[in-house]
Symmetry: C2
Subunit: 411 residues, 2 copies
């Protein structure tokens, strides 16, 4: 039968993510991929999780194998609350301030359901995290993008754009400012304390919510932790999204929404009709893990590993790229990514064809624009390839850059 | 801050499910609840799952603790395909015909995204499964309801309503017919072979999709399996939704969509932005379980247990209710529920207050109407309370019925 006329407008508009399509090539033998943003499986605490899984299924089967409440596991909520207190000094939360989601992608999608109408406006960063883009786009498409600088979102532009929206009588259509404050995906930069305060000030002035997405905050290589917007702002202004994917295991699919009780309640209602509840098993495994082990101690080797890979990549960049005029890259202070910008005139999507032949993969910046605009930038992750592959991959990338640059008369 | 003006229209409309609110009371000590539809935890194969979980985390950690593809575990897809062949004679499926979801609630929600616009029409059964109602309602609200009879949907009414819609030029707005063919939730009836054929004939005539939701099909107490609409219809006409929640464990959160490759691909695209992927861990646990154990043999004691509890409830009904004129109930041939209808004039929602005082709980039929209309029926599940509690609960319910009936002059 012909399905086309059965699809909804949304159904018709669904397209495969560019990243997904590009990464299909990355499994070719001998290829080196900086494309994915997935953790190194060797960092997963498999022995601990294996033992805990077996125990909780045996002993807590009537909880872990059963339907859970939509809110999620209260034992995990307790652990989360104490983590947020110990690590970030966020106090006075109780279980009603926390809800667990099926990965933080679901938190973004539920936020989109709760807040966005077709004519709503969302303020987002440029480059724009692809997962958020796909979640928000299922409900609307009007994004105001604010460029990232070395210390995060350009708050002057943010201020100007908000003023313009206010002057045009559109400020009520703006539902939230979406921010990834630490080790941005894909931009790799970290929002300064000063700018965090400024964003909060503007959100208060125009009565906007802030959606603070912090999957990478714990993976800091150097420098001091900067307080979260959630901690800095008046309570209720910020919804904090978190996840265990980067600090424990993505396979457990556990994200968290932390916010005002009324907002969390709305997330719960939206989740009811969306997937009823997340797995009680994976949530209880995480809860018992956090109970028994010191997370910070456990992830110290992971952070060390990622930092050393980052150092290897930065060193290779210095060696191979410093003679390419106009090329620049972010030196990340944590997380999984760096953001590389080629000289003016380069189109990293077009260049992808050459890189593909050289068996080196990255994500073209175009994937992170809300309007599918060509970009001279690319996202590169250093967390998965071994050190020697990082060096070899950067070498291949240099060849691709030179070949493309020459063919276009850019170099 | 005041969130009300931040919410989307959908956000504003979200209400807690009636079942959820009602079942809060059911945890009072000494209460007897026929309300929930959750499996008996003693039926979960905890020893097997405990061992498998420990093994797969230890040995397959780089798969089970990592992000999975959006489609889900190919090993589980293989098992699912062979199950559908062995149990139901459904042949010629390959992995591209199968996608796994975070419980079958997610499959309903994704179907709603893919097919339903605000002005779409869905044909549903009356009573209407609440989970489907909440998923579909997030996108639209125009339901055409077709009453259930002892052998399923009244196909004469279905035929007449489709004709009317066609005459009014509205047939293109109808996206699908939603059917729970086996041991209906909440209606407890099973769709006859003859009616299955008739529904397919009508779907072909008007070029409609059929959404066949079959969570309970394997839990048959008596009689022969009736072929699924998916098997009976031309390939591509029916989307089959399945789940491991009732035959293995709801805590794993594994639902399945089985359909034409093009449709399954749309489900995958919709899932990408919704929660990226379901847990690789719980999917691989299910896959290895199905590989090692004979599911039919494994669930035989479960079916026996539910059948014996159903028999206990039916016997208690005969004993306590047969003198209440005009009262009737469905004798289910499988599944978890029966559907009880009180004499005309009864309102089971209103009666709930009296039942609550007597510490016996059920779900009022009103919860299963698309328009929140009073109902003289109620859903009762027999799968969770022990035998003596079933008898005691029916006794209490009788008291509630008499008290309410007398107060209203109905008895």
């Amino acid at each position: 039968m012909n399905y086309e006329e059965k699809y909804s407008d949304l159904g018709k508009s669904l397209r495969s993510s560019l990243i997904r399509e590009l990464l299909k090539y990355a499994s070719v033998p001998n290829s080196i991929s900086f494309g994915g943003g997935v953790p190194d499986p060797e960092t997963f605490p498999r022995r601990e999780l294996s033992q805990i899984a077996s125990e909780v299924i045996e002993k807590e089967y009537n909880y872990v194998l059963q339907y859970s409440t939509t809110e999620g596991d209260p034992e995990l909520a307790k652990q989360m609350i104490s983590l947020l207190d110990n690590l970030y000094g966020i106090k006075d939360l109780d279980v009603d301030n926390v809800m667990f989601t099926t990965g933080s992608q679901q938190a973004l999608e539920l936020a989109s359901k709760i807040f966005l109408d077709e004519n709503s406006i969302a303020i987002v960063e440029d480059p724009f995290y692809l997962g958020a883009a796909s979640a928000f786009r299922m409900r609307m498409s009007k994004f105001i993008t604010i460029p990232l600088e070395e210390d995060g979102m350009n708050v002057d532009i943010l201020e100007r754009k908000l003023k313009e929206l206010d002057n045009k009588g559109l400020i009520k259509k703006v539902k939230f400012i979406y921010v990834i404050p630490n080790f941005h995906n894909p931009g790799a930069v970290t929002l300064s304390l000063e700018k965090r305060r400024k964003i909060i000030e503007l959100a208060e002035k125009y009565d906007l919510l802030i959606l603070e997405d912090d999957p990478y905050g714990l993976l800091r290589f150097e420098g001091e932790h900067i307080p979260s917007l959630f901690k800095l702002a008046e309570r209720g202004r910020v919804i904090l999204l978190n996840t265990f994917s980067k600090i424990l295991s993505p396979g457990l699919r556990i994200g968290a929404v932390i916010g005002d009780k009324e907002i969390v309640r709305k997330f719960v209602l939206a989740k009811q009709g969306t997937d009823l509840c997340s797995s009680a098993l994976t949530q209880r495994i995480a809860a018992r893990y956090l109970e028994r082990y010191d997370l910070i101690q456990q992830i110290t080797p992971t952070i060390k590993l990622y930092k050393s890979k980052k150092d290897t990549m930065m060193k290779a960049f210095d060696e191979y790229f410093s003679d390419i005029k106009g090329m620049k890259w972010v030196k990340p202070k944590g997380g999984l990514f760096t953001w590389v910008t080629l000289p003016e005139g380069f189109d990293t999507m077009e260049m992808f064809e050459i890189a593909k032949k050289k068996l080196v993969f990255y994500i073209p910046g175009q994937a992170f624009t809300p309007d599918d605009r060509p970009s001279s930038s690319m996202r590169m992750s250093f967390c998965l390839p071994p050190h020697e592959k990082i060096i070899e991959g950067v070498k291949r990338l240099k060849e691709a850059i030179l070949e493309y640059g020459k063919s276009k008369g850019l170099i």
